[in-house]
Subunit: 245 residues, 2 copies
Amino acid sequence: MSSGTIDESAGTADTQAIADFLGLLACVEVSAFQQRGRDVLHAATVSDMSAVGTIAVAELGHFQVLCKRLTALGVDPDEVIAPFRPAAIGFERRTVPEDLLESLVKIHLAHALATDFHRRALPYLDAESARLADGVLAEGGRTGLAADRITGAARADRVTADRLSLWSRRLAGEVLARTQAMIAVRPRLAALFVDAEDDPEADVAEAGRGASGGDPADMVPVIGRMFRRANKGQARRVRDLGLTI
Amino acid sequence: MSSGTIDESAGTADTQAIADFLGLLACVEVSAFQQRGRDVLHAATVSDMSAVGTIAVAELGHFQVLCKRLTALGVDPDEVIAPFRPAAIGFERRTVPEDLLESLVKIHLAHALATDFHRRALPYLDAESARLADGVLAEGGRTGLAADRITGAARADRVTADRLSLWSRRLAGEVLARTQAMIAVRPRLAALFVDAEDDPEADVAEAGRGASGGDPADMVPVIGRMFRRANKGQARRVRDLGLTI
């Protein structure tokens, strides 16, 4: 496979990998939606409740559009999503925000870090799936709402800044753990998250993307590089918020 | 006041009562929204997740439209809603569903019972507020989703039927407690929930609806009658679901 684009008419293994990716994304979105109720509970004003609620509505919409795409690809969304649920639910359980600021940091940073990974898969998807996934990954107001509030709170109070910095590190670790757990469920996904910078020996990624699925063990060092690079982007975002890494 | 309709141009006390009612309704809707994440977590299929999520989206929309109306009436939604939050949050905390069936019973029965109360206020509202509140109280798919599933599960298994019957009784008690707690916060609301059948001595309701606000103590027997009548409607719905009262 020399092109980064896969047609819907491609082999069965490719369609499966695309389906797995869309299913993973759908699972992440619905799991995020599930947490927004708690975030709204933390909100003290109607304006904040409404803003967080609007993010929840967008996430549910993402979930629904991705499930619809899976069905259009002839795949049962239930079957594709189910294997990813434990990792997604575990992530949300381990990262329960204590207040609205922690909710906002999670909405902002955890989403951005996950997006860094997921975006890499876009070139390997068919055009329609890539278009949908791209729309889902667009920040859709999540960043705007959060950034000003976090920065303001961090600037106003050193203790808050330290607490949120620690929280952002915990979140980053948990996002990486969740991504790793999801790839472990479907090793062929790893190849979709890898690009040339992560993988100087391109044949490893090629093997992973091939119809044979490749050997999951080959992916381990590649995933390691991918995570280290993702952490750089995360560090920049954390500093932009006025937090420390 | 001889008419059941109040103009926006009516006295300050009336506008306050209308604002309190819209604020109470907004608070109930956003609190319901906050719980839907947990309900989605209980859902095992994409179809159920999507159906429960769609209810959540409707509830958030209700909250937003009611807040917008409050603002249009010159009232600060934050100020009106805040006093009702503890009762609403307490209700949700005391009625956490253990599985999807309990979620569906709550969505169906608790909403219907609350609607019984809230509908009584409509004739006392200005036309635009009444129109909005009427739309909010319309069941909007909540009943349809729940009823078939609950009835089917209750018919299939006696233990489930007994468990859900008990759950529906607990819910009814908690809805009544929440309504009472909310009226206690704003006693002038009581008069809006009372109609001629509850209150053979119409002057009690008249006193409550007047600009003076009336004596909350006068409302106690009226509220008692209102609750007894609401329980009859609830009993019919419980039986319709194949549960026992």
